[in-house]
């Protein structure tokens, strides 16, 4: 049962489907392991359906709550899926360094370079050192997420007469104004069960991109500058100034670490509003209260750059998932080829939030204006950087950094936090 009947909707590249039909994978089995569950799983399956339908392959998709752990177990134990799709470059790097991934080949890398917006940076993101130390292209980017977004309720802004800020400085002025009006500007929630703290890392990364040049950012994620470098401490401090200001954040700073990130945007929609702005990636809209209409009840603006640093342009923080071959087979290769096709992106785009840097896709395929707008932010970005914590080693990016964020909003001085994280980083070198 295909979601969109082939040939019927002009937005889709149906020629891709025809081409795919020539590939015969009958009798072959392809196992795919991905991070998507629930509604997302239904979406990804709707894309995969075209691949199976056309090629006749037997495809098994699975996911798990502990997919991170699961993929480590499966690859280490020698029973990996054919294709793994993962959102963490750090984890991919580790798998690659253990020799558990198969290089995709130079032609695939060339394809990405040529056809993706900011192609080289995507190629760089997919290139890792293998077991032998040689660099190769392992991870094919599929599906991107935009992080530098601030969500708000247009009604609330209208009522209070607030304008969407276009510079960081304006945004802070707006915050002060809201406070003066008796409101609370921000909702921040770092809670995420075992991953508590990560939303804070996004804040810091966004601030890094707005206060430092991209190469400083890159050095930071590689620890080529120490975590307690003044540049980083400064970014931490800027975030801390917002998050630990009881007037700025809903519930006071104590609530920041305790509030679940999934619950935190809901303050935008209460009556009276608990807050006016919420910085979070594009996915967050699925946690808005039921019936919230994007564009009407909720909207977003690009987290503005600093007017004081005009040379940094409009940096964008993003994330994405990468497909890689964990067990080589003809079907796996064909699947990667499938992902190169615009159709593989358009099917999902047409239903909901898939952003893609693939330039060949029909932008009209985006399901709504909101997504299109996000797509524009992505394309109009002068700098695109991948989520830094995902680039750091797991122990840091998914450990010390998180804990550091919790400590930071708990009132620990930015410098101490940075030093502690650096210590952890030293420990794993």
């Amino acid at each position: 049962d295909l979601k969109f009947k082939p040939g019927e909707d002009a937005r889709f590249h149906w020629d891709n489907y025809e081409a795919l039909k020539k590939v015969d994978l009958k009798g072959e089995t392809l196992t795919i392991f991905g991070p998507w569950r629930g509604e997302d799983e239904a979406l990804v399956r709707s894309v995969l359906d075209y691949f199976t339908e056309a090629t006749g392959v037997t495809l098994k998709y699975s996911s798990s709550e502990n997919y991170e752990q699961q993929i480590v177990i499966d690859t280490q134990a020698g029973s990996p899926p054919n294709v793994a799709i993962l959102p963490q470059p750090g984890l991919i790097q580790d798998l690659a360094s253990k020799g558990l991934l198969t290089p995709l080949g130079d032609d695939v890398a060339a394809f990405v370079k040529d056809n993706y917006g900011a192609g080289q940076s995507w190629v760089d993101l997919g290139t890792y050192a293998g077991k032998d130390g040689a660099k190769a292209f392992y991870a094919f980017p599929y599906k991107a997420d935009l992080k530098s977004l601030v969500w708000y309720s247009p009604d609330n802004f209208d009522e209070a007469g607030y304008e969407v800020p276009t510079t960081w400085e304006d945004m802070m002025k707006l915050s002060d104004k809201i406070v003066a009006d008796g409101g609370t500007p921000w909702c921040i929630g770092l809670g995420s069960g075992g991953a508590t703290g990560w939303p804070g890392t996004d804040w810091v990364e966004d601030i890094m991109l707005r206060t430092q040049a991209p190469d400083v950012y890159d050095k930071w994620t590689k620890n080529e500058i120490p975590f307690n470098d003044p540049a980083v401490v400064n970014a931490l401090q800027i975030f801390a100034d917002i998050a630990t200001n009881d007037k700025y954040v809903d519930g006071g700073h104590a609530a920041v670490a305790a509030t679940d990130f999934r619950d935190s945007p809901k303050g935008l929609f209460t009556v009276p509003p608990k807050c006016y702005m919420h910085r979070q990636a594009s996915f967050i809209s699925s946690f808005f209260p039921e019936g919230t209409k994007l564009g009407t009840d909720a909207d977003f603006f690009y987290l503005p750059p600093m007017a004081s640093k005009p040379d940094l342009g409009k940096p964008v923080l993003g994330a994405g998932t990468f497909a890689m071959i964990t067990k080589d087979s003809k079907a796996a290769r064909e699947f990667i080829k499938f992902l190169e096709m615009p159709l593989a992106h358009e099917i999902w785009m047409a239903q909901s939030g898939l952003l893609t840097p693939l330039k060949t896709v029909n932008q009209d395929a985006y399901a709504n204006e909101q997504l299109k707008k996000q797509g524009e932010i992505l394309t109009s970005a002068t700098t695109f950087r991948f989520d830094g914590s995902d680039l750091m080693p797991g122990k840091i990016g998914a450990g010390a950094f998180w804990t550091g964020m919790v400590d930071l909003v708990g009132g620990k001085p930015a410098k101490d936090v940075a030093t502690d994280i650096q210590k952890s980083w030293d420990a794993i070198k």
């Binding site: 480590v72 750090g90 984890l91 580790d94 253990k98 508590t196 006071g252 609530a255 305790a258 990016g397």
Partner: protein
């Protein structure tokens, strides 16, 4: 559906039947090879002696085989890993152990674990015992027991959701949706982010495990309590002991062995359990414990098997005193036979 049910039943029957068949068959075989019935007296005696030598191994054979494959072999593998680096390729000697004892988080985990070990087994056993005794005496005891038992049947994910809603914090002045804060504010206090208060948050996490595991202690102790000869209790009643004295001086000492079993089991569980810490705090706010630390090193971001294995080995070493104590106990019990 019918055919699915049929195949499921078939699979189950084969699985269980195979196991029964082994024991029955092996025993039969032993009787056939060394017959004890229907042969002359002397031969029968010899055969019996041979059977006596072999039969224990028939009985524990499958258990040993499975233990070796599923636990001992992985333990050895882990031990081997603990002397290697993160990918498990290069031998690095005791470096991982050196690292562990120098690591701040590790030391913090040890301290927290000691706290957990001191509180949780005692609390579970004590509460389980009390509840087992009390529920034995009332007509709705079974219902009460099932309700106490209920948490055990809830998956860890479910349990963490439950407790999230108990410890939930909303800023001062807002409606509290966490019942603990609702009570505290209802009584005029200030709401707190319970799981982020260093040191004390350990206790808030322990409460969860206690909540879950008391049902376990209760079930086992309740089955032990039922083995106490009624007449000894009657004798104590006549001796004028009140219910408390009967409980402490007559019942508890008679099920001491079981109490030790429950205590040991929960102690070991405490050493192993990481889900609660993982889902509630992931070791933040100084609430890290060894098991979660191990999990962390093992799987997070690709993992460092060497260090993960090292922590696992250290956890296992921590159990040695419990082992020794239990063996003493076991030898005391079986001393007579």
């Amino acid at each position: 559906m019918a055919s699915q049910i049929f195949s499921a039943v078939l699979v189950i029957v084969i699985g269980v039947g195979g196991c029964v068949a082994y024991f029955w068959g092996a025993n039969k075989l032993l009787d056939l090879v060394f017959p004890a019935h229907g042969v002359s007296g002397g031969a029968a005696v010899d055969n019996l002696r041979r059977q006596g030598l072999i039969r224990p191994w028939l009985f524990i054979g499958p258990a040993m085989l499975i233990l070796i494959v599923y636990l001992i072999y992985p333990v050895i593998d882990t031990l081997w890993l603990s002397f290697h680096d993160r990918g498990g390729q290069n031998f690095i000697g005791l470096a991982n152990y050196e690292w562990a004892f120098g690591d701040r988080e590790f030391r913090n985990s040890i301290l927290n674990n000691v706290l957990w070990l001191a509180v949780v087994p005692a609390a579970c056993t004590f509460l389980g015992l009390i509840i087992a005794v009390l529920t034995d005496r009332i007509w709705w005891g079974t219902i009460a027991k099932s309700l106490i038992f209920l948490p055990l049947a809830i998956s860890f994910v479910g349990a963490s959701v439950i407790w999230k809603f108990i410890y939930e914090y909303k800023g001062e002045g807002q409606t509290q949706i966490g019942i603990l804060n609702a009570i505290v504010t209802g009584l005029g206090g200030d709401p707190h982010v319970w799981i982020s208060i260093p040191f004390w948050n350990n206790f808030f996490l322990m409460v969860i495990l206690i909540w879950i595991q008391t049902g376990f202690a209760m079930v086992i102790l309740s089955s032990a309590l039922r083995g106490i000869p009624e007449e000894t209790i009657e004798a104590a009643v006549i001796d004028g002991a009140n219910p408390f004295q009967i409980f402490w001086k007559i019942m508890v000492p008679q099920i001491w062995g079981t109490i030790a079993v429950v205590w040991t089991t929960i102690t070991i569980l405490v050493l192993k359990v990481f889900d609660i810490v993982l889902t509630m705090t992931n070791g933040q706010w100084n609430s890290q414990v060894l098991a979660n630390l191990m999990f962390d090193w093992m799987f997070r971001g690709g993992g460092d098997f060497g260090r993960g294995a090292t922590i696992a080995i250290i956890i296992m070493i921590a159990v040695i005193p419990i082992m020794v104590w239990n063996i003493r106990q076991a030898n005391k019990e079986t001393g007579g036979h």
